[in-house]
Amino acid sequence: MGEKVTIEIPKELYEKAQKYIQESGGEFKSVNELVEFVLNELLSEEEEETVFTPEEEEKIKQRLKSLGYI
């Protein structure tokens, strides 16, 4: 991800995150890792998928229609 920056969160939230990490079986090694994961998940949710062209999309929709799915 390249260069890193510092952010501030409430101490109470930080402690909750630490507790979560301890109870989650060691999957996350630090609050940094957890915060990075959660933010990545949240922010990428709304990213538009661009793995197909409008022409491909139209073709797929036609197929879905012909099969009775839409």
């Binding site: 989650s24 999957e27 990213e47 197909f52 797929i60 197929r63 799915y69």
Partner: protein
């Protein structure tokens, strides 16, 4: 918004402009050809080819790819000593299924594998009586790794029911579904399945019923039977436009907990946000505890799809309906457990199971087949 593909990007490796050149070929089995198409069409995203040794060992030992992305079942291409004669790392090879050019592979690595080690890690047993283990023991001694490019689809009798991740993603969006629950099955539906699906569907926008067609063990339902039975159930007992029925062409591995995670990952790639994990999911015999497939998900908080652990349904005479142990206060004398084995036995004898076990229309559909079982 449907789930992001596993690893962040939907893999699509399709090559259309291949012209036959002087190229070495490798024959692949149907099962291998299906794995190839599943890789190239994104069902196994983020895989772009068969696993190299480093990733293979990482999956065995850590249940993750070497880049830490959860992955529990190695996707490997086994080849005989003779068939790799003359092949070396860096070569391009044409993968053929009978006379059909399926894919191009750039060989990254050829390596040997320890089948007992595989069995121990993946199946938790080296017992050759386990159907998955026995299959592994019969495989070839070398594995070939490398990125793939699909040239042609594997022929299918189920074209009408074949949807790829890119298609389901567009379909779900067109239907306006933001939350989709995936349901894995290798059975014709009984009332317990219907209960579980409807319980999940209550909280999400759509249900993706995704029966697995491919290699199964003797005594399992035939693929056509499963599809016909689901068509009947959906027609009579589900609201319109809340269900999508499409097949997944891959083999059952009977690897219990590890396979449950694998099933969830594949459905994530189809766009599902939730996935139903059954009791003894993908299990066989007594090799796994009834809820082992639930526990394993604790190891994957970063899976990116929400597992739904819905308890086994049974019919309670006192409640007068399908319930589960969490919502039914009555004791065992009122409970009738729905056993898939018993239902199969009845159907095999030409009997229609009672309505509380299986819908009449579904049973009649199954019985209309001369031999509904493998």
């Amino acid at each position: 918004m449907v789930s992001k593909p596993h690893g962040g990007k939907l893999i699509r490796r399709i090559k259309r402009d291949f012209e036959k050149e002087d190229i070495q070929t490798l024959e692949v089995s149907l099962e291998q050809a299906l794995d190839i198409e599943n890789i190239c069409r994104g069902v196994f995203s983020p895989l772009e080819g068969f696993l190299d040794r480093n990733n293979y060992l990482s999956v065995l030992e850590n249940k993750r790819l070497s880049n830490d992305i959860p992955w529990t079942i190695p996707i490997i291409l086994d080849v005989s000593n003779q068939s790799i004669d003359g092949l070396k790392e860096g070569d391009d090879v044409l993968l053929k299924y009978y006379d059909r050019n399926i894919a191009l592979m750039n060989i990254e690595e050829i390596y040997q594998w320890d089948k007992k080690q595989y069995a121990r890690y993946i199946y938790g047993t080296t017992d050759p009586e386990h159907p998955g283990v026995s299959k592994i023991y019969k495989m070839n001694d070398y594995l070939v790794a490398g990125k793939l490019e699909l040239l042609n689809s594997v022929p299918t009798r189920f074209e009408r029911y074949t949807l790829w991740p890119i298609e389901t993603r567009i379909l779900f969006r067109e239907r306006g579904w933001r939350t989709i629950v995936g349901f894995q099955t290798r059975n014709a539906p009984h009332r317990g399945h219907e209960y579980v699906q409807k319980a999940a569907l209550t909280f999400v926008d759509g249900l993706f019923v995704n029966p697995l067609v491919g290699w199964k063990k003797k005594g399992d339902y035939k693929d056509d039977v499963i599809l016909a039975a689901y068509e009947t159930l959906i027609k009579h007992y589900y609201p319109r436009d809340v269900v999508v029925l499409a097949v997944l062409r891959t083999s059952m591995r009977y690897a219990g907990p590890r396979e449950a995670v694998h099933h969830a990952i594949m459905r994530k790639n189809f766009g599902c946000t939730h996935f139903i994990i059954g009791r003894d999911h993908a299990g066989v015999g007594n090799y796994y505890g009834p809820y082992d497939a639930w526990k394993i998900f604790q190891e994957f908080p970063d899976l990116g799809i929400t597992p739904l652990f819905i308890r086994e349904a049974f019919y309670c005479k006192k409640c007068d309906g399908m319930v589960n142990e969490k919502i039914c206060p009555h004791n065992e004398e009122y409970r009738i457990h729905i056993s898939g084995t018993n239902i199969r036995r009845m159907l095999l004898n030409g009997e229609r199971p009672p309505e509380y076990m299986m819908r009449r229309e579904v049973a009649e559909t199954i019985l209309s087949f001369e031999n509904p079982f493998m």
